[in-house]
């Protein structure tokens, strides 16, 4: 009897500990983000207040209004950065996916000499740190007049994303049974038609997840962007964030607002992609 009670108590307390641990972990993960959002809504006076004010007393969207209503003294050209980030990310993603689909399909469906070496080679290009690549790229682009252009950065991001999209899409195509395309061909389709009618729709969700992942990689990239852009013609949000942090008198509230603007697309896409991303990474890697 005593033994039973002991185990029962132990089980209950472990359960409680588990819940506490989980809550703590979630809190740690969410805290920085929450704090930034809060700060973007409070007047600078409150942020700087000593002793610190914990519960926001004044809440306003002023920071955001300032941001989007115009440049002006001390204002951040958010709209330009946002526009640049959007154009560059979307375009580079589209191209990277197209190339990735072709490459991923090649690895998934065909056997050819040196296949694993090619695969490894493609993957290895990804290991080059952004900043290391930026040096020669800067030099080459300077020669070609590609500095501070959308095109230059787009090309760089395509190259950055292709290895990963190939890996993921390869994995997703492998999950589609080969027989289906063959059945379609027997039914009268050409290989091209069979691909678009059968294989592509089935790998669709996975390809969409790869697209989202590539988009986020481009959206968040800093090292290359910082060197290959010069003005609001092509500066992206991450570069913008750094530029304004470096200023001597820091408009913390404005910075936080900029940070929030950067985050929103990323978070919404996270929610959509979470299930597929993991399955793509693990199936492509474990079953090989």
């Amino acid at each position: 009897m005593d033994e039973n009670a002991r185990h029962r108590i132990r089980r209950r307390s472990l359960g409680a500990l588990h819940t506490v641990g989980l809550l703590l972990a979630m809190l740690i993960i969410l805290m920085p983000g929450i704090w930034i959002v809060l700060s973007s809504l409070r007047p600078t006076v409150e942020i700087m207040a000593k002793p610190p004010v914990w519960i926001p007393e004044q809440v306003s969207l002023d920071a955001y209004i300032n941001m989007f209503s115009g440049v002006g003294k001390g204002g951040i050209p958010v709209l330009d950065y946002f526009r640049n980030s959007l154009i560059i990310s979307v375009t580079s993603t589209a191209i990277a996916i197209a190339i990735g689909m072709a490459g991923g399909y090649a690895f998934a469906r065909y056997r050819f000499r040196g296949k694993s070496s090619w695969f490894l080679g493609v993957m290895l290009t990804r290991t080059v740190p952004g900043i290391a690549l930026s040096l020669p790229l800067f030099f080459v682009y300077a020669r070609l007049g590609l500095i501070d252009t959308h095109f230059g950065l787009i090309m760089a991001y395509v190259a950055l994303n292709v290895p990963f999209t190939i890996w993921l899409i390869d994995g997703f195509f492998r999950q589609v049974p080969k027989d289906l395309a063959e059945a379609a061909q027997i039914d009268g389709c050409t290989r091209w038609q069979a691909f678009w009618q059968v294989e592509f729709p089935l790998a669709g969700p996975g390809i969409a997840s790869s697209a989202i992942f590539a988009f986020l990689t481009s959206w968040n990239e800093f090292a290359l962007a910082s060197q290959l852009t010069r003005s609001i013609n092509s500066k992206t949000l991450p570069v913008g964030l750094l530029d304004y942090t470096a200023e001597f008198t820091i408009d913390w509230r404005g910075m936080c607002a900029l940070a929030v603007v950067m985050i929103i697309p990323a978070l919404t896409l996270t929610f959509i992609v979470q299930k597929h991303l993991v399955s793509g990474l693990t199936s492509g890697a474990v079953k090989g």
Partner: protein
């Protein structure tokens, strides 16, 4: 003493009760089978005994000790899982010796026990293999070896033969029976196959929808089923069951067909009662071709049209139409028959069963 007691054992998921306060006493060294259709709660009950599921209410005692909240490792039990649950990254030897290793037993003892179990189960030549290199039957034997190495109070089997093909199943059934004779411990065995239960168990527990329908020896549940459900569940081919009502000392069926009320039920059953009439295929036979031909006491002769025959070699299952249903009958010394033939059948009414149509309970005295 490895007795097992279940006292008002209950399991609920949210507001849904899956096991409704069952009581059971298992004697030391007894082989008990829990049988029933899918979802009847037999696996859940077993897992509660093992400690893999939490108990919602009631108590479980093993060897007289209450074990309600104890984790599996403190209950001194062994379990053989439906999918064998072998450790894939360990050899057969390591699989079998694992529990002893965890318990910190000395190496010589480990080796001795593993060798013993391996010999009993014929695994000696497989000891260094990994589970992925074994066949289904071999894996099952390793799982059993793992269970017997520890010499626990109680063995639990969770549908161990379900994943094997029919022929292997029959083989392994015999092996398990021999094993029980040798090891002689208390066994609680869950299966949905009533043949397994009948051939292996000392006593059978038939469960349905979280309740116990009947507990008894194979002979008892076969000859004296207490409910309509048990009657239809035990026995292969299953008992023929038809609904009828009692009128003027006779049974009137829906189609209008009539049979005399069997003598043993006359005192218990009043006129107008709605009942279910049951007769096993052994107790219906083309006249002269039955098991008890010549010895039966209360035989009623009736002519029925034959619908289908299933020749099995030494006997034929003859399907004949009665009350718009096909009755299964066993024909020994079979003669060729054609569909549509009208044949004289003998019904051994002394072996008939009668159940209340509403409650399903047996109306036997």
């Amino acid at each position: 003493m490895a007795t097992v007691s279940l006292k008002k054992l209950t399991k609920t998921y949210g507001s849904q009760a899956v096991v409704h306060g069952i009581d059971l006493e298992v004697a030391d060294r007894e082989f008990i089978a829990l049988v029933g259709p899918s979802g009847c709660g037999k696996s859940t009950t077993l897992r509660m005994i093992a400690g893999l599921e939490e108990i919602s209410a009631g108590a479980i005692e093993i060897g007289g000790r209450v074990v309600n909240d104890l984790p599996p490792r403190s209950r001194n039990i062994s379990m053989v899982f439906q999918s064998y649950a072998l450790y894939p990254h360990m050899t057969v030897r390591e699989n079998m010796g694992f529990s002893l290793k965890i318990a910190g037993r000395p190496k010589e003892e480990m080796e001795r026990r593993v060798a013993e179990a391996s010999t009993i189960l014929g695994l000696d030549h497989l000891l260094e293999r990994r589970p992925s290199q074994l066949s289904g039957g071999q894996r099952q034997r390793v799982a059993m070896g793992r269970a017997i190495v520890r010499d626990p109070d109680v063995f639990l089997f969770d549908e161990p033969l379900s994943n094997l093909d029919a022929k292997l199943r029959t083989q392994m059934r015999t092996e398990i029976k021999k094993l029980h004779a040798k090891v002689n411990s208390t066994v609680i065995y869950v299966t949905h196959d009533q043949v397994e239960a009948m051939t292996l168990a000392d006593r059978i527990v038939i469960m349905r929808d979280g309740h116990i329908e009947q507990v008894g020896t194979p002979d008892e549940v076969f000859k004296r089923p207490r409910t309509r459900f048990v009657a239809g569940f035990i026995g292969s081919p299953p008992m023929n069951l038809n609904e009828a009502s009692v009128e003027d000392g006779q049974l009137t069926f829906a189609s209008g067909a009539r049979l005399p009320l069997p003598a043993q039920f006359k005192p218990n059953v009043e006129a107008g009662r709605k009942v279910v009439f049951g007769l096993r295929p052994d107790d219906i036979y083309p006249t002269g071709h039955g098991l008890h031909s010549g010895e039966a006491t209360e035989v009623h002769e009736i002519e029925l049209p034959v619908t289908v025959t299933e020749p099995l070699g030494n006997e034929t299952l003859v399907f004949a139409e009665f009350d718009r249903r096909d009755w299964v009958s066993r024909m020994l010394n079979p003669k060729p028959l054609r569909a549509g033939d009208r044949l004289g059948f003998s019904l051994d009414l002394s072996q008939a069963h009668l159940f209340d149509a509403a409650t399903g309970k047996s109306l036997r005295a």
